[in-house]
């Protein structure tokens, strides 16, 4: 594992009116790492995610991708730089097919403009072919190829999650951010998911995920951040976190 840090959040704070959802959070993801964020409901995990992906501009603090300050950049700019996310409550495009959803993922890496499209220039045609090829490859990888012409939201729930992963992968990201990827999955599906995430890491991706399934988090993550009331109360390898008294008190203690 290399030590190059690709994502760094520095003292990030997010306030909504009087409510402080995230307070002075620090976080790092290194290359080829699988990092988990855990914490009770309402701890600020999703908000921090939204700060990183540009959905909300943090009230204070900075976020760096490699050495670039991306604080306050828009989600589409950030995606273009090489981050892609999935959503806790699946957000697919219902009037588009599975294939089109994934092809949309390639959007940030293609360039054809309105005139290219209207006049069907060589560049537009070539890009379109490449987009299609890439989308089909990804669908084969995630096992959705057979269903490529179905409408995205007509898929069973589990497959919809797979489609969200596929769409995220299509943008050729360096860093993948998964928001509760195992939500609603049964044990077998969760096992498949952890295999899939390992496979992604082997393919060279770095992964940051929010997850409630402790077993999954403890088994796949290299490092874990624990959030409570918007603050990072602990971080480290799964074993360290598991034995941290603060964590047990704030979170695990209540669970057991």
């Amino acid at each position: 594992m290399s030590n190059e840090v690709i994502l760094r959040a520095k003292q990030v704070t997010q306030r909504f009116g009087g409510l402080c959802a995230v307070h002075n959070a620090d976080l790092e993801v290194r290359k080829h790492e699988i990092v988990g964020i855990i914490g009770p409901n309402g701890a600020g995990k999703s908000t921090l995610f939204n700060n990183i992906t540009g959905m909300y501009k943090p009230t204070e603090g900075q976020i760096y991708f490699h050495d670039m300050d991306i604080t306050g950049k828009t989600p589409y700019e950030i995606t273009k730089l090489g981050m892609a996310r999935t959503f806790q409550n699946i957000r697919l495009f219902p009037t588009m097919t599975v294939l089109e959803n994934v092809m949309l993922g390639v959007h940030s890496k293609t360039k054809a403009n309105l005139l290219d499209v209207i006049f069907k220039t060589k560049r537009a045609k070539k890009e379109e072919e490449e987009t299609l090829k890439k989308a089909e490859e990804i669908l084969k990888l995630t096992g959705l190829y057979e269903a490529r012409y179905n409408y995205a939201t007509s898929l069973p729930y589990g497959y919809q999650r797979h489609l969200e992963f596929s769409r995220a992968l299509a943008s050729s990201p360096e860093l993948l951010l998964f928001d509760e990827p195992a939500a609603g999955m049964n044990e077998r599906e969760t096992k498949e998911l952890s295999d899939f995430i390992f496979k992604l890491r082997d393919m060279g991706y770095s992964i940051l995920l929010i997850e409630h399934d402790m077993k999954l988090v403890m088994s796949i993550c290299d490092r874990i951040y624990v959030l409570d009331h918007g603050e990072v109360i602990a971080n480290g390898e799964p074993e360290e976190v598991r034995n941290n008294p603060d964590v047990i008190e704030a979170y695990l203690g209540k669970e057991e």
Binding site: T74, P75, R85, T95, G105
Partner: protein
């Protein structure tokens, strides 16, 4: 009904060719001036309805004041041809450019406003246009309108009725092709994604704002083209052509035909243009019957006649089923 749709999807190309051929043959068979005029009017509305479909069907923004853009196109062409003596090719291009610019301008508020408020902006815009057309006497001659707009002519040859018909048919064909290319491209996917879920779209690298503005521009410039043709064809325009009522006619056509489907716009526009003509003998009652039929159609098929059908998707799904069966 469902079978028919699959057959249509399979042979879409041929159906399109047949439809186009029918449109080409129409003025050769029905040579009465009145019938050709109805045909031309149909095609003007088809172009308007298509342009609004780009915005409302694909982008999901209800354009309530579409007659405003229609009017800008018509006035641009009328003024440039009567005052500066431009020929129609130039006035068409100018009308598209000017309405396109206004489209971009009216699209700007989409940065902050949600769809329903943008609808209001378009409606207010239409009213502002009409007020300006009525009151900027030095430019538009106010409510007296602009008469004697030069008829369409090329190299000194005046277009007869048939030729005018073919010109607008050509413009409609062009619009359909351009729309088709946009829809089946990365831009079209971006547009649909923004319509479906702009937050997810933006997380996947699509800038929702720039797409909305761009689509506003494209849609408006097509409406402007329709306006420019209309001005040259009819020869006289005044602000009463571009009222809110006109806007409601255009949006009714688009929605009744089916959002997000170019053929829907064709069907909607032709139906709602021909219907009042057929009902003409009924005199006073004709608008009432028209209204009643509009209501009935919305009850029977609220998503519009062809709304919710995507022939390409149907074709793709059928091809997979076939593969499975063959194995």
């Amino acid at each position: 009904m469902k079978r028919l749709l699959h057959v249509w999807a399979k042979h879409e190309k041929y159906v399109n060719v047949v439809l186009f051929a029918a449109a080409v043959v129409y003025p050769l068979i029905f040579t009465r001036q009145y019938l050709i005029n109805v045909g031309i009017l149909c095609l003007v509305y088809v172009l308007l309805s298509l342009s609004l479909n780009v915005l409302t069907g694909y982008m999901g923004i209800t354009g309530l004041g579409w007659a405003g853009f229609f009017g800008i196109g018509a006035y641009t062409a009328a003024i440039l041809s009567t005052k500066a003596g431009w020929n129609f090719i130039l006035t068409f291009l100018a009308a598209m450019a000017v309405t396109g610019m206004f489209g971009l301008l009216i699209g700007m508020p989409t940065r902050k406003l949600s769809g329903r408020y943008v609808a209001i902006v378009t409606m207010a815009f239409c009213e502002i246009c009409r007020a300006l057309e009525t009151n900027m006497d030095w430019l538009t001659r106010g409510s007296r309108g602009i008469p004697n707009i030069p008829r369409l002519e090329l190299f000194g040859m005046k277009f007869n009725k048939q030729a005018q018909y073919y010109l607008i048919l050509f413009l409609v064909l062009l619009a359909v092709i351009v729309m088709g290319r946009i829809v089946n491209s990365r831009i079209g996917r971006g547009v649909l994604a923004v319509k479906d879920d702009d937050i997810a779209a933006s997380a996947m690298g699509v800038n929702p704002f720039s797409y909305k503005v761009m689509i506003f521009g494209v849609a408006a410039s097509l409406a402007g083209l329709a306006g420019a043709f209309y001005a040259h064809y009819i020869g006289f325009i005044d602000p009463s052509n571009f009222t809110f009522d006109q806007s409601t006619i255009i949006i009714s056509m688009t929605i009744m035909g089916g959002l997000g489907n170019p053929m829907g716009s064709v069907l909607g526009a032709v139906t709602l243009t021909v219907l009042p003509e057929i009902l003409r003998p009924l005199m006073d009652v004709r608008q009432i019957v028209y209204g009643v039929m509009l209501i009935i159609m919305m009850i029977v098929r609220p998503q519009g006649i062809l709304g919710g059908f995507n022939l390409k998707h149907i074709r793709q799904q059928d091809s997979v089923h076939k593969e499975v069966r063959n194995e």
